[in-house]
Amino acid sequence: MKGLLNWLFGAKRRSRTISFMIVIVSYIVLSLMIASGSLSRLMISLLVPVCAYIVAALGLNLNVGISGELNLGQAGFMSIGAFTAVILSGIFSANGMNPVLILLICIIAGAVMASVIGWLISVPVLKLQGDYLAIVTLAFGQIIMSLVNNLYVGFDANGLHFAFVTNTLELAEGGKMLISGPMGATGVSTASTFTAGFILVLCALFVVYNLIDSRSGRAIMAARDNRIAAESVGISVSRTKTLAFVISSCLAGAAGALYALNYSSFVATKFEFNDSILLLVYVVLGGLSNMSGTIISTALLVILPEMLRFLQFYRMLIYAVVLIVIMLVSNNEWLKVKAEQLKKKLTGKRKGVQQS
């Protein structure tokens, strides 16, 4: 028993164990609350989006916290995953496939699609650094949104039909519009469930933690901490940055697919610049490189605005102020020293308990 506890809460695994525990315990508690009917309809409707945003934010934290590159286009990758899922689910549900299987295929396809596009983009983009990289990822998010906003996709007996800017699709009888430009995705057969979201969050945590604690993860963090030194020990900095970027977009794609199949209709502007910024807020508020922090802050910041509807006009204003305060506080030397001392005190006490 003691051995197991040491393994779970040792220096190497503590944050991993805590993250998994937070997710599993919340899932059990929330499931019980749903079963007993003590959760409001509004809250239940927020469960899947919360899971989706957590997965996308975990991916973003890999990119911003672990790899140290500012990415302002994460919502763009969610959008890719979402609309890939809409198209596929349109095809499969017409064939009367099992919804669980559809969801699984859509999430995998969304993740793969977002990874491929993430990889294509990373080749030119990761030659840039800092602000320039941020600007390009921002532009990328906008481009994806505009493209999808002008995309028409229909499905009928003859297969898939695509049109761009104007709807020139002439679908055969019994055909169905899957994406109708600015009207967005319509008639999606919903397949996402809270349990699916919970499993996806677990998978994302599994991927992120296993990646960090491995050869590739060390290389990613080394390239972040000191580029020149990383190359001096034989690490290809561009390759590691690409890896982090691709895995981050992969998670965003999976999250987008989960999100999309939760609604029967939604528009492309659901994934706009503000959402990329929101994801960044979740990550920064939860703490860079801190995965359990990301989970908690994402859940809070998705749910709180719904509870505090009367403040919704000031939401972005409040986020901006919070971001600025966090940046000032986290760069304050005096506070850092105090936090260090507090941490020492706490861990010192814990050690004492273990010995006795």
Partner: protein, 257 residues
């Protein structure tokens, strides 16, 4: 006697210009197997620039660098490291937010062959190679007296220990030639004595050649078998410590006339 050994590093007529400024010119030197060589000179003589050319941070404008008989002309910094040159930096460049152990394991990057997918799925090869890497890294840390601080974040180590950790990380890449850029900078006399012993031990234990830049003359004269003196980017003298100490040109460069 050294002439019969094979040179690990052979530098011929090396030179580099930055715009119109010639930083290093006509430098020729050899470093032989199992040898500790020194590169000294007044501030601004171009010593670190030489290191940066050897590791291809800068591409030399003239001359050739051969590592064990192989030209490094077409190699990148990464390839030079894989070919067998590891270095430390004058201004310490550790991975400051990573643990001491992870810093050394990062040095083992090219020693580990499992892929990203294998690590995400935790396949057996991952566990096996991580265990080996842990053992190798701990062995290196022990040599530098850092094994008890394996879990400490590198940025929280005192200065002297950071310097030693940097050497350990460089050694983890399994080099044939180790370049040390002012390893004793900021150390007190006891620490410097300790470091001299460690450098000799490293040479004997790993059977590698070492080229070091240092201002601490006690260290240079104490452990280097041969010394090259640079001044204003030009080679001023080359020889054993005794020869260098009595060379009138060197004395002039260091003390002025």
């Amino acid at each position: 006697m050294t002439e019969t050994k094979t040179p690990v590093l052979k530098v011929t007529d090396l030179g580099i210009d930055f715009g119109g400024l010639t930083a290093v010119n006509d430098l020729s030197m050899n470093v032989y197997e199992n040898e500790i060589c020194g590169l000294i000179g007044p501030n601004g003589a171009g010593k670190t620039t030489v290191f940066n050319m050897l590791t291809k941070v800068y591409q030399p404008s003239r001359g050739t660098i051969e590592l064990c008989g192989k030209s490094t002309e077409k190699m990148s910094t990464i390839e030079v490291n894989r070919a067998g040159i590891a270095r430390t930096f004058q201004n310490i460049r550790l991975f400051m937010n990573m643990s001491v152990l992870d810093n050394v394991k990062t040095g083992l990057h090219n020693d580990i062959s499992y892929g990203t997918i294998e690590s995400i799925l935790r396949l057996p090869r991952f566990a096996k190679q991580e265990k080996e890497a842990d053992a190798k890294a701990m062995e290196l840390l022990k040599i530098f007296g850092l094994d008890e601080k394996a879990d400490v974040i590198a940025g929280n180590l005192p200065y002297g220990e950071q310097r030693r950790l940097e050497i350990a990380r460089a050694l983890a890449t399994d080099p044939k030639l180790l370049l040390l850029d002012e390893p004793a900078a900021g150390m007190n006399p006891q620490e410097t004595d300790e470091l001299m012993k460690t450098i000799r031990f490293v040479r004997d234990h790993f059977k590698i050649a070492i080229l070091l830049i240092e201002h601490d003359m006690k260290l240079v004269m104490g452990i280097c078998e041969r010394i090259t003196v640079l001044n204003f980017g030009m080679m001023l003298a080359q020889g054993t410590p005794a020869e260098i100490q009595s060379d009138p040109e060197v004395i002039k460069a260091y003390l002025g006339e």
